[in-house]
């Protein structure tokens, strides 16, 4: 089955995911951004005894051996938005709007990062020196430092770029479809076999009470026999006939599939 917003699926039936490579690249960039940020700070002010590192949990400030964590709330939005920017086009694929939405999320993520850096500029001021009184005078200590954006920042920029490119091209700049399929397709009874086959073929179906429905065609399991319900006529059928009727009912879906993501209004 496909994951599509607007269809009533039971969550336990995620067997096949069929997405465009462009969307997968976007997800990979988004997750690698968040993952790399947990390894390396995205932005840092580096000095000998005064350093500030921007981690996903906030600023880590190190001042002459004193260590403190300053967590501005906007920092959490940076990576939550970025993660959503990767996930939205995977979850919602019916129209082109998820691409726009993930572009907005990526840009907002960058905006939150800028705001977080501004927080540092405003409240964690680095003047390049510190003075302190002594018993008979004062001490003036220079704090030379350099500001650097690190690897996660450039991955975030790449995420913004890819979301813009995907929005402009409709995520169609490659011709590759990525299909993720669950290996196990058959279950216990005949109904489970039917569902497994439909998953594999790519026909979307609805679970009904003790049966499945594709469009106006329904197959019900009564005892050990399958009942085909089509145009309000009930017929007892074999497994292969039931399958054939369900696939026929879902044929228009199959024709539409393969490349219709992000096309609808």
């Amino acid at each position: 089955m496909r994951l599509r917003v607007g269809y009533s699926y039971t969550s336990s039936r995620i067997g096949v995911v069929n997405v465009r490579l462009e969307a997968v690249i976007q997800l990979i960039i988004a997750t690698s951004f968040v993952a790399s940020w947990f390894v390396t700070p995205i932005w840092a002010i580096k000095g000998i005894n005064y350093s500030i590192y921007l981690t996903p949990l906030g600023y880590v400030v190190i001042f002459f051996g004193n260590k403190a964590l300053v967590p501005p709330p906007t920092v959490f939005a940076v990576w939550l938005f970025a993660l959503d920017a990767g996930l939205v086009p995977i979850i919602w694929r019916r129209t082109r709007y998820p691409l726009y939405l993930s572009m907005i999320l990526a840009v907002l993520s960058l905006t939150m990062l800028v705001d977080t850096v501004l927080f540092q500029q405003r409240y964690l001021q680095v003047r390049g020196y510190v003075t302190s009184p002594t018993p008979n005078g004062y001490i003036y200590v220079q704090l030379p430092h350099v500001s650097v954006f690190e690897v996660p920042f450039y991955i975030l920029l790449a995420l913004v770029v890819i979301t813009v490119v995907n929005s402009v091209t409709g995520a169609k700049w490659t011709n590759v479809q990525v299909i993720i399929r669950r290996r196990k397709i058959t279950g216990g009874n005949q109904l489970d076999i039917i569902k497994g086959v439909l998953d594999r073929v790519g026909v979307k179906y609805e679970d009904v009470d003790n049966g499945v429905r594709v469009g106006g065609t329904m197959v019900l399991l009564k005892g050990n026999s399958l009942i085909l319900v089509k145009d309000s006529i009930e017929t007892e059928v074999s497994l292969d006939v039931a399958l054939a009727e369900l696939v026929r009912a879902g044929a228009d879906q199959l024709i539409r599939t393969a490349g219709d993501d992000y096309e609808g209004e």
Partner: protein, 264 residues
């Protein structure tokens, strides 16, 4: 007519922008409680340890007091003596800091002086400057000691090495004796006072005191020359007058000089 998807999209994106704005405002309001102020504690400082007025100049020695986890490594600096207006460059030699300013006549009338200065160096690796001001008593150092002896024909010549800030007068030598160190045999022994009255000007000088030892009342000369490779001790109590600008000061000074004679 806009589709329901466009409507959803507009609702989501507007909500996201609103959430972002609220986050920014919230962060700004939260900021004062998030940050905390930290200052340096237990910072090192520089003290004037001593001021020694000598004939070679005024030596101002400084010490760095490290009283915490922070370590200051000095590399140089300067001092200014407020009362004389003199500047000195601080030299750093193996953990001691010293500045030398020229000796002027004003120094001799000063009881204490104010010294201010700036020491540069590194605090835990960061370039740092320590400014200080201290009022410190002035210690006047007049150095005088025996540097050599000759004894021939019952005449002793004692060479004094003097490094003086003020002029002195060597008044008298009393109860002088010369004896061997290990066997304690007298070369001569006097129980009398010799009047010397030699005036030594300030500065660095070598002064020879020549005293003939003639046997007589209270003077016992057992030998008129020294033996080779023998260690002798000179015992010479002396009265010296220092001529300070604000008055003379007479003190007694005991010179004891141990030497091994290797003459020819």
């Amino acid at each position: 007519m806009a589709s329901k998807y466009l409507k959803n999209f507009l609702i989501y994106s507007t909500a996201l922008v609103v959430i972002s704005l609220l986050l920014i405002v919230w962060t700004a309001q939260l900021a004062p409680t998030l940050i905390r102020f930290v200052t340096l504690t237990g910072v090192p400082y520089v003290q004037v340890a001593s001021i020694n007025v000598t004939a070679n100049g005024v030596f101002i020695s400084l010490t760095v007091v490290n009283n915490g986890s922070l370590g200051f490594k000095p590399t140089g600096g300067w001092v200014e003596v407020m009362d004389t207006g003199q500047f000195g460059v601080v030299n750093e030699t193996s953990r001691s800091l010293t500045a030398v300013v020229p000796l002027t006549s004003r120094w001799l009338s000063l009881g204490s002086v104010g010294v201010r200065g700036l020491i540069n160096g590194y605090l835990n690796g960061n370039p740092a400057y320590i400014a200080f001001f201290d009022v410190i008593p002035v210690h006047v150092v007049n150095y005088i000691d025996v540097s050599g002896i000759s004894y021939n024909d019952c005449v002793i010549t004692v060479t004094l090495n003097a490094s003086l800030v003020v002029p002195i007068v060597i008044n008298t030598v009393s109860n002088m004796s010369l004896f061997t160190k290990y066997t304690a045999h007298y070369v001569f022994n006097t129980l009398t006072t010799y009047s010397i009255n030699i005036k030594v000007p300030s500065g660095n000088h070598l002064v020879n005191l020549t005293i003939p030892i003639k046997s007589g009342p209270n003077v016992y000369a057992f030998s008129c020359s020294l033996s080779n490779n023998t260690t002798y001790v000179l015992y010479m109590p002396t009265i010296i007058t220092y001529e300070f600008p604000n008055g003379n000061e007479t003190t007694s000074r005991l010179f004891i000089y141990v030497f091994t004679y290797r003459g020819g």
